[in-house]
């Protein structure tokens, strides 16, 4: 009697103390302490300095570049990722396993390698770039190139959040809708899509957040032109190069704040979508 009561109070799974301890340790070492160090580094940072940095035209321009390209890339990833996840979840075809494994490759590849290869492909004398340039489409060294690099590193986030939901989806409702005379497009819109909105939003948020902070793959393809293709993380590097730690921290903190707010909004939106689809 006594024993059961104790077991119930401790929860069904054993080892909570240890796992919770590990979680706290891990989170502290990997996330909380580095973030605290960032704040600590900003001790030389006065509010007026923060304001100066925040209102500097070059910094503002770099935020504009970083945010707009990351948003564009995450949107594109949302559409393309849904398509990829759909194909992987719903169809069987030869080489599917390989195809499936390829999706994760951008996670493993050093981002600089991705940046260098994309630049080689899309620059004016590259394999693809040389064909697009005569059509008036310049990709490397433009915001389009940055978007492309961010799409590359962001796509797995969308596929990997949407795919499991698609795979777990009950076919019954779709079949029921079909027997009631709904067309395929109507089924997709009314039955499938509402279920997919929460994972799509998650994938979008992850790809977007990743894109804002991305450095390695972008520096090569962006051309780093001030006011036009200079991303915010590059400005952080450039401030570090002049030993302006406070300035670098200011750019980083603002960037972090913007990303955090955006992720927060997206998470709220996601919760709302999730509740609505119930």
């Amino acid at each position: 009697m006594n024993v059961t009561a104790k077991t119930v109070r401790r929860g069904t799974l054993p080892g909570f103390g240890l796992t919770m301890g590990y979680t706290v340790l891990y989170l502290s070492l990997v996330v909380l302490i580095p973030l605290a160090a960032l704040l600590f580094n900003s001790t030389g940072l006065t509010l007026s300095k923060l304001w100066d940095v925040a209102t500097d035209p070059r910094v503002l321009a770099s935020y504009r570049v970083s945010l707009s390209t990351a948003a564009a890339a995450a949107l594109a990833d949302g559409v393309l990722g849904l398509l990829l996840a759909w194909v992987l979840a719903r169809y069987r075809f030869p080489g599917k396993r390989i195809f499936d494994a390829l999706i994760d490759l951008p996670f493993a590849l050093p981002t600089a390698v991705a940046g260098v290869s994309l630049t080689a492909l899309y620059s004016a004398n590259g394999w693809i770039g040389s064909r697009l340039e005569p059509l008036g489409l310049k990709i490397a060294y433009t915001p389009l190139g940055i978007t492309l690099a961010l799409m590359f590193i962001g796509i797995p986030f969308v596929v990997r959040t949407v795919q499991p939901v698609l795979e777990d989806m009950e076919r019954d409702t779709e079949e029921a809708a079909a027997t009631l005379g709904a067309g395929r497009w109507r089924i997709f819109r009314k039955v499938i899509l509402p279920e997919l909105i929460p994972p799509l939003l998650t994938g979008f948020a992850l790809a977007f957040a990743r894109g804002i902070g991305e450095y390695g793959s972008v520096v090569f393809i962006s051309g780093n032109m001030p006011m036009r293709t200079e991303i915010a993380p590059l400005l952080i590097m450039s401030k570090l190069e002049q030993y302006d730690y406070a300035g670098a921290t200011a750019v980083a903190m603002l960037l972090l704040l913007i990303s955090f707010l955006m992720i927060l909004v997206i998470n709220l939106l996601q919760r709302w979508a999730h509740n609505r689809s119930r």
Partner: protein
């Protein structure tokens, strides 16, 4: 459940404290150092612990290990120099010395040393990056007068690399402003080498406009409108020019230009010497705090001094750095065409002043790109 939470938190904090204490005891954080730097630092900090105790003796016979933290394009130079120095030191003093190298962007390397990478000597691209170490208390003041020639054993200059046959007829700085010329140079805000490029153009413009600062700024501003891509580092710019085929002229260090030509084909590029350029003086210094702690001062000082010896100078010259020793200069005369060279001190003063005026936030370079500010 409540008890579980508390227990979990306690375990976490306890684990955290143990790791935290262990890390502090070690005291060799290497934040931001490159992978190669980390590897060499680890190796370097292990050995000299033993020799530190024996540092009272003039020269210990125990094997000793030095870490030379340098910038990107000196890799080949120091690979051969380290071999030569080890042989010389062992012959003279009967002591084995191994030198580890670490390469990366000059500013980044300086920050790694500040953050705890235990370099015995630094051999960087700009005096400014060593000044930063002096400011951090790692190097005693007056380091720049410790060795000859402002502590720059070898020098270099800024030249042009053009496509074979020089189709756009580029001969001098003013040709870079021609309408159809595209210029490749890295971003001076992130690249030490790019700062020398910028200053070389500025110095030329001063000389051709009766030292009129406004006209020099106009010239350089115009020049940067011909730059389609600002890479973050010198090697990135070389790649853009050489591999991507972008631009008509690459502004580069003389030794980088030679490396490109030798490695990528004499049939593809020509080196053009402008009528005048800047004397780039990459300086060297002993990291006082580290050598005193490790007891490696004597070897470290000898290591830098030997760069000025005939053998050291020849190795520099073989790697396309301009020697400063007269006899070696004479020997390699044909390799380094004589052009009019001005120094940083001639035209700009100290690195600190130069950095503040041109490259810090709100400086001249920012004005070129931020209209109306």
């Amino acid at each position: 459940m409540k008890k579980g939470w508390r227990k979990g938190l306690l375990t976490g904090v306890a684990l955290l404290l143990t790791t935290g204490l262990a890390a502090c005891g070690g005291n060799n954080s290497e934040n931001g150092a490159s992978a190669s730097a980390k590897a060499s630092a680890g190796a370097a900090s292990a050995a000299p612990a033993a020799s530190a105790a024996a540092s009272t003796a003039p020269v210990s016979k125990d094997p000793v290990e030095l870490l030379n933290v340098s910038y990107d394009p000196t890799r080949e130079l120091y690979e051969s120099y380290n071999k030569a120095f080890s042989a010389y030191w062992e012959k003279e003093h009967g002591q084995k010395v191994t030198i580890k190298q670490s390469h990366g962007g000059s500013g980044k390397q300086s920050r790694s040393v500040q953050d705890g990478l235990e370099a015995d000597v630094v051999t960087l691209a700009l005096g400014y990056d060593i000044d930063a170490l002096e400011k951090a208390g790692l190097i005693n003041s007056g380091w720049q007068s410790k060795y000859d020639h402002n502590s720059s054993p070898y020098t270099s200059t800024i030249v042009f690399l053009v496509r074979k046959g020089n189709p756009k007829g580029i001969k001098d700085w003013s040709d870079l402003l021609k309408d159809d010329v595209q210029v490749i140079t890295p971003n001076p805000k992130t690249s030490g080498g790019a700062r020398w490029n910028f200053l070389a153009a500025w110095g030329y413009a001063l000389d051709h406009n009766n030292n009129d600062e406004a006209k020099a700024q106009e010239f350089v501003k115009n020049l940067y409108t011909h730059v389609p891509v600002l890479d973050s580092g010198a090697r990135g710019s070389t790649t853009t020019f050489v591999e991507r085929g972008l631009g008509d002229v690459l502004i580069a260090w003389e030794n980088e230009a030679y490396l490109s030509v030798n490695e990528l084909g004499k049939d593809k590029f020509d080196i053009v010497y402008p009528s005048e350029s800047i004397l780039a003086e990459p300086p060297v210094a002993v990291v006082d705090k580290v050598v005193d702690k490790k007891g490696t001062r004597e070897v470290a000082e000898a290591y830098l001094k030997y760069l000025y010896s005939e053998e050291g100078q020849k190795i520099a010259a073989e790697n396309y750095y301009r020697p400063t020793l007269d006899s070696v200069k004479e020997e390699y005369k044909s390799k380094f065409p004589e052009i009019k060279l001005f120094t940083l001190a001639d035209k700009f003063g100290t690195w600190k002043e130069t950095q503040e005026k041109f490259f810090n936030d709100g400086g001249v370079f920012d004005k070129i790109y931020v209209p109306g500010k």
